[in-house]
Point group: C2
């Protein structure tokens, strides 16, 4: 017999069904055992009356405990009015069991799975992530995550973007966060680096004529974990050719509105079009470059998006020189291009950079890039790099740009934070299927862990003395 | 003015348009310059007549060379019958340029981009991957890859599968391929491992009640590269709860047929339903467990899928013991379960394992898993593992299974090989956006490469003496 999903039982009164799932709870009333059976679609009450069940299964019936995996054949029966359970979606029906099979047994879980686990010790929840994932809240979060990502993908594909996978074993970037390193076995003394973002790749794909790229990309940063950081996280990485800042802002704004409407219709976006603040305004008015513009901070369904634009390109590096504020590959705003070329009053140059902010979180940043190699080189010169440093660190990008780089720009919304906010969760660990602890450990898999000496020797490394 | 895509020019006769793209080729006829302009949608001929173009742009006109990035404003003109070019899709029109801007200049590429580059030295092509990607064949391959992956995703989402991201920084598995290792900075002497597949995670997600999982997953194997291998590759990783072998085979077969029809309608599938061969039949009849069943091996549009099933579970390990043939987490075929439990005549036990084969390539393998911890333990015992070894290597999986693991099974089709075959390419490097060489180097990024001593020290490692 085909399996019936629990959500389908409501519309199957009078029918014989086969259900599979977990025991959410059981009550032994002596003559009758009630089991709340759970699958991914919900919960339904199963009534086990010995007279209805083959004699050889009566012993099994008594064995059943929470989280046992059962296969139940039975009949869907309408409940009479006074026994309707308004707390579950299938509360108008119950299943009269005719046959029971225990597909697997279960030890008593270390915490209760039929309740919200937010309050349970997080280390325990992370060690038993495979149990926490069974709870209603976590199921909802993980499925919401997929829905949000899918909506982004559909939106971009409908606009002729191409999703392109870029390497995870690559080369380090001289600026930015600390990176994870991977020793090479075939090339002793050499290392790959896990990318902190596909920034260089996406720009090279623009040089490669792909024109409209995106990728749900894993990013890696070996930073000291603060609050809601993770050593690996996910961003919706995007890049477009032949666009200006306004094109990117319009597209991303439309994409966010579409995503919210489709995946979280209970949410209200406070202001459309999204308000735009210059960096200067944001700092003066809110003392923050990611202001929380919500009019009612207690409304869990209020979403206040805004754009922050017109960031200064350079800031003083503390040694009398200049460094970039966001990304050395950014272009200046078009009206500052001459000023950049002349290296004149660089502190006042504004970059074609933009952040998208949601409820006080930066949920994405990007820029129009400096696609002419001679202009990009000027940026490095302003930052005091020598010709040799420029060639060593950025030579491959400058060379690529010499072969006809198109004007291009992009952005990289952070998937984890967006899902976190839409799910009303306080941190990104609640919306990452298998997250790590604050100090970058995976308690379920027990990673990182020591390796046999042979593995290190093969990778041409040894431990620091 | 909005940008017009080159493919749209055919239906824009008489209109003013703004085109952006690269110079595919140019011919200077003295009084007139003809430029074939290329964007992601195709090529169109631009006619530059000085009388039609502002005087201050006449110098620019002469500068133009191959791969320059241009913005052209002009008028779409129908060609007269005898000048129609049947070799390009826009051959019925040309663009009479009214204004020209050079968006970027380009050096002469190291190989010609308006021709198929299959015959060019591959190291040169990989170093300048961003140029090779501009060619028609590579554009087609990369876009076909996205189309195939998208079709798989849509198919699975329509059947209520949930895409779930699993970690890339994880723990090693005791069996299988050699793995890349990542030293931990925060936990000296400890290492992460890059996963050779999400096998353990997907099973744990089944324990977690996700029921129907998939993921376009990057996999990492530090093996000596042979022909068609890459250190990182992509698989469509899938797992389902409450299914039997037949369910998986049916679903995957339907998915493959759907994908071929949607993304490569010119292809013909030789036989539907896909023929099924037992391992024994395949070896006896074809001396191969991935037989090429095509009736006409010269037909580039013929696809011969088949299933190979009924693999032996164990094989002799050469030391008088037994080892698994595919995957220790597999279940035996149901009729062999008692034989497994009794550890009787283990050489004759057949596994619930299956490979899908296409044109002589294994393009996916999977199995129904052994979801009862006591049965799984029996497998390890047959392979001669001590209680301590079992706990060290598989303890976390056995423990998870003790909390109510559902019956489950899955498969993992290899995306790179499938795209390679559908694109009629001879190796997977032609369908991976940024592949590595046979000895695992990225010639475009120059990875792997040496790192400063500081980076090694921070990761708590040093080079082997």
């Amino acid at each position: 017999m085909e399996r019936t999903l629990i959500s389908e039982t409501i519309s199957s009164v009078g029918k014989s069904v086969r259900l599979c799932g977990w025991v959410n709870s059981r009550r032994d009333m002596g003559k009758v055992i009630f089991v709340d059976l759970r699958d991914r679609t919900g919960i339904v009450q199963v009534v086990m009356v010995p007279a209805e069940i083959p004699a050889e299964q009566h012993e099994l019936m008594k064995e059943i405990r929470s989280e046992f995996v059962l296969e139940i054949q039975g009949e869907v029966v309408a409940r009479n009015a006074k026994s309707i359970n308004p707390n579950i979606k299938t509360g108008t029906v119950e299943i009269l069991a005719k046959s029971i099979a225990i597909l697997n047994r279960a030890k008593t879980p270390p915490f209760e799975l039929d309740k919200d686990t937010s309050g349970i010790n997080e280390e325990v929840r992370l060690k038993y992530r495979y149990l926490d994932l069974r709870t209603e809240r976590m199921q909802k979060n993980i499925r919401l995550r997929d829905a949000i990502i899918t909506r982004f993908r559909d939106f971009l594909h409908a606009r002729q973007f191409c999703e392109i996978e870029t390497p995870y074993l690559t080369k380090g970037t001289p600026e930015g966060a600390r990176e994870f390193i991977v020793p090479s076995r075939l090339h002793p003394g050499n290392f790959y680096v896990l990318p902190q973002s596909p920034q260089q790749f996406k720009q090279l794909l623009m040089v490669g004529g792909m024109e409209k790229y995106f990728q749900i990309a894993r990013c890696f940063r070996d930073e000291d974990q603060r609050g809601d950081r993770q050593p690996e996280f996910t961003q919706l990485d995007m890049e477009m050719s032949f666009v200006e800042q306004e094109d990117v802002l319009q597209l991303v704004e439309e994409m966010m509105i579409d995503m919210v409407k489709a995946t979280a219709p209970e949410k209200r976006i406070q202001q459309i079009p999204f308000p735009r603040l210059t960096y200067k305004e944001a700092m003066e008015k809110y003392n923050s470059d990611k202001p929380d513009l919500r009019e009612d901070k207690n409304d869990p369904n209020l979403l206040a998006f805004c754009w922050v634009i017109d960031f200064p390109f350079f800031e003083q590096d503390g040694n009398g020189g200049w460094t970039f504020t966001h990304n050395p590959f950014s272009a200046p705003q078009p009206e500052y291009m001459e000023q950049l070329r002349e290296k004149r009053d660089v502190g006042s140059i504004l970059a074609a950079q933009y952040d998208i902010v949601l409820n006080g979180y930066e949920v994405g940043g990007g820029s129009i890039r400096n696609h002419r190699p001679e202009d990009l080189k000027t940026v490095f010169e302003i930052m005091g790099a020598s010709e040799e440093e420029i060639q060593t660190q950025y030579g491959h990008m400058l060379e690529a740009f010499e072969y006809g780089a198109p004007p291009h720009g992009g952005i990289a919304p952070g998937v984890d934070r967006i899902v976190m906010i839409l799910a009303n969760e306080p941190n990104i660990r609640e919306v990452i299927p298998i997250p790590k602890t604050g100090d970058a450990r995976d308690l379920m898999m027990d990673a990182p862990s020591p390796l046999p000496a042979k593995a290190l020797a093969e990778a041409n490394i040894r431990l620091k003395a």
